[in-house]
């Protein structure tokens, strides 16, 4: 199915939203306005975007410690996201969750997660629900390359296959888990080599190419929707910044040349080039997209900045839901 120019611009917009949101968050952190840990998604925008553009609003996703991009791509409100990262009452979690627990249940975004791999079984649970209710919704689990070494991932992948659930597994292979090159943490080069062990198909895509990610996901999602079970998509990608924080070059665990080489293949700029080359969008149209997102980000900063910190009473609320049925 051919994508319209408008859909192409949607994808570009989604990636730019992620990019600018993250760059802004990084700057605010540097300026001391953003407490806690910040795991930036910059560099990986094509993955969240390519995947989420293949989903419906009522599909579910679960996410990771590096989760802003997933929420943005699923349609998250940048103002409430920014406010959350700044610990404000107007944030998605009222300031109680922060970066690592950001979520939007209405958008089917079941939460970033501070525990590596722990979001994967939760996505499987949502997949179970879809099958149980007989809907055609799917559920997507995002996780990193290094997360595939943890038990929860394994159990969840097998469970989804054994119960034949509509779950799509999206591995973002960015070559590192924290400061350890993934080649030191596993012998295999490709995570898809694990798919056969669960009995599901696996496919590798260029995670810097939003259309490639999108196409592969569309296929996996279609498969899941029609009741043919789980599939794994592995996107080869790269995070520009350090594991957390905003240093990007001069890190002792990875060569600068590597960073620069990946940046050459930047998912946004290469996509722009493609849109230009293909005559799908003009520079002006794309500049408008950037400008529009910049304005949204300004709004988000203002919203967040003017949102109050939560009142002390908020400390004790929300531990238990009070609305029993």
């Amino acid at each position: 199915m051919e994508l319209t120019p408008a859909r192409h611009l949607d994808m570009l917009r989604s990636m730019i939203r992620i990019r600018l949101f993250e760059e802004t968050a990084g700057k605010l952190m540097e300026a001391g306005k953003m407490p806690g840990f910040l795991h930036l998604y910059v560099g990986q925008e094509a993955v969240a975007t390519g995947v989420c553009e293949a989903l419906r609003v009522d599909d579910y996703i679960s996410s990771t410690h590096r989760g802003h991009g997933h929420l943005v791509a699923k349609g998250g409100d940048l103002s409430r996201m920014m406010a959350e990262l700044m610990g404000r009452a107007g944030g998605y979690c009222g300031g109680k969750g922060g970066s690592m627990h950001i979520n939007d249940l209405k958008l089917g975004m079941l939460g970033a997660n501070g525990i590596v791999g722990a979001g994967v079984p939760i996505a499987v649970g949502a997949g179970f629900r879809n099958k149980y209710l007989g809907t055609d919704q799917v559920s997507v689990a995002f996780f990193g390359d290094a997360a595939t070494n943890i038990g929860a991932f394994h159990e969840a992948a097998n469970m989804a296959c054994a119960l034949h659930l509509p779950v799509v597994f999206i591995c973002e292979h960015n070559m590192y888990g924290e400061y350890t090159p993934t080649e030191k943490a596993m012998v295999i080069a490709d995570i898809v080599d694990r798919a056969a062990g669960y009995g599901m198909p696996g496919v590798i895509v260029d995670g810097m190419d939003v259309l490639a990610v999108h196409e592969a996901t569309l296929e996996a999602v279609a498969r899941a929707r029609r009741g043919d079970g789980p599939a794994l998509v592995e996107a080869k990608t790269y995070r520009y910044y350090n594991h957390h924080g905003i240093q990007n070059l001069g890190l002792k665990y990875r060569p600068d040349a590597e960073v620069l080489a990946w940046k050459e293949r930047d998912p946004i700029f290469s996509f722009e080039q493609r849109l230009l080359d293909g005559g799908i969008a003009t520079r002006d149209e794309m500049d408008d997209v950037w400008a529009g997102v910049r304005a949204t980000i300004e709004t988000a900063i203002e919203f967040a900045d003017s949102s109050p910190f939560p009142e002390p009473e908020a400390l004790l609320t929300g531990v238990y839901t009070r609305s029993n049925s």
């Binding site: 722990a118 939760i122 996505a123 499987v124 469970m159 119960l163 238990y320």
Partner: protein, 332 residues
């Protein structure tokens, strides 16, 4: 038929069955809970009645079993997921304590998580150190969970129904050695409120606070003491978290002496919390320190020769009561 007598395990199964009939969103999942009906027959007949869709046999994957429950609960179902032996909660501790317990709060209170985790605790079957533990204290310490440990068939049914209907994650613990114990259990649906203790026996000389199987032992000890002319009040906590400390303190203010009896290891056990709160809220009423009858600080031994000594029982509780009663107002 208000005096119908069924077993603890049947009361449990019946609660599930009635709730499953009433609400299509309720299902069970776990290892061998479907076709086999649970290794302790806790789910007997559920699959036969509701089919494989609603009674799901899973792989041996405790983390994913809880995760399945969390994801399904977050998205609108009302799952009952089983962990077979309480010892296995440790295999899934992250999903229980870091995920299920905390999601609501971390999400700013927006989530609803009507998840019931069922398991069987307790020793006495020579099942050794990894199939006999009572680990409730570890999870009482985690905000966001509710811990329920019923002591008789009637309560099992009402508390299990309440767990299923509860919009927060509950951990429902059955004691293995009580499964066959009979009691009078009404037929229809009913709930017992979570967080409300029950005075299982009225008395005036001393209070015994307990839960799960140890309530039975406490009642038996109370019988022994009654023969000696001592009147024991037995408080069955039913729910450990939230803890109904008011009922306990009311009793202690009346009796002035109290022991807490539980099957778990004493050190760091939930009895410590109960004791700490009693001495805080009833300090001026206490004529003796809060006593604790519990297991010694060892893993659970396999051989009956040692397991029998290991386990707290009615005799040990009775001895504890006598000791508390014998203590002069000033011991030193």
């Amino acid at each position: 038929m208000s005096d119908r007598t069924i077993s603890y395990v049947n009361a449990f199964t019946e609660a599930i069955q009635l709730e499953m009939e009433a609400d299509p969103d309720v299902f069970i999942a776990g290892e061998d809970v479907g076709a086999h009906g649970g290794v302790f027959h806790t789910f007997d007949g559920i699959q036969a009645r509701f089919g494989e869709r609603r009674a799901v046999d899973t792989p041996i994957s405790e983390q994913a079993i809880i995760g399945l429950g969390i994801g399904a609960a977050l998205t609108g179902l009302r799952p009952i997921v089983d962990l077979m032996f309480m010892d296995f909660v440790l295999v899934a501790a992250d999903q229980i304590a870091n995920q299920a317990a905390k999601l609501k709060y971390m999400f700013g209170g927006n989530a609803k998580l009507p998840l019931t985790i069922t398991t069987t605790g307790g020793a006495g079957l020579s099942a050794a150190a990894q199939h006999s533990q009572s680990l409730e204290a570890m999870f009482c310490h985690i905000p966001g969970l509710m811990i329920v440990y019923p002591s008789n068939a009637h309560d099992v049914k009402g508390l299990m129904a309440a767990c299923i209907r509860e919009d927060n994650p509950t951990l429902m613990v059955l004691h293995k050695r009580m499964l066959g114990q009979k009691g009078i259990v009404p037929e229809g649906r009913y709930q017992l409120p979570l967080g409300v203790a029950n005075v299982a026996r009225q008395g005036s000389d001393v209070t015994v606070v307990s839960w799960g199987k140890m309530v039975n032992d406490s009642l038996a000890a109370a019988d022994q003491l009654a023969a000696e002319g001592t009147s024991c009040e037995v408080v069955d906590l039913r729910t450990l978290s939230p803890l109904d400390i008011d009922t306990v303190v009311t009793s202690v203010r009346k009796t002035n002496r109290v022991i807490v009896a539980h099957e778990a290891v004493r050190f760091g056990g939930f009895g410590a919390e109960v004791a700490a709160q009693i001495q805080e809220y009833a300090f001026d009423y206490l004529d003796a320190p809060v006593g604790r009858i519990a297991a010694p600080f060892t893993p659970i031994p396999f051989t009956p020769a040692l397991e029998n000594i290991y386990l707290p029982d009615a005799n040990k509780i009775a001895a504890g009561i006598r000791e508390t009663l014998a203590r002069p107002l000033l011991a030193t």
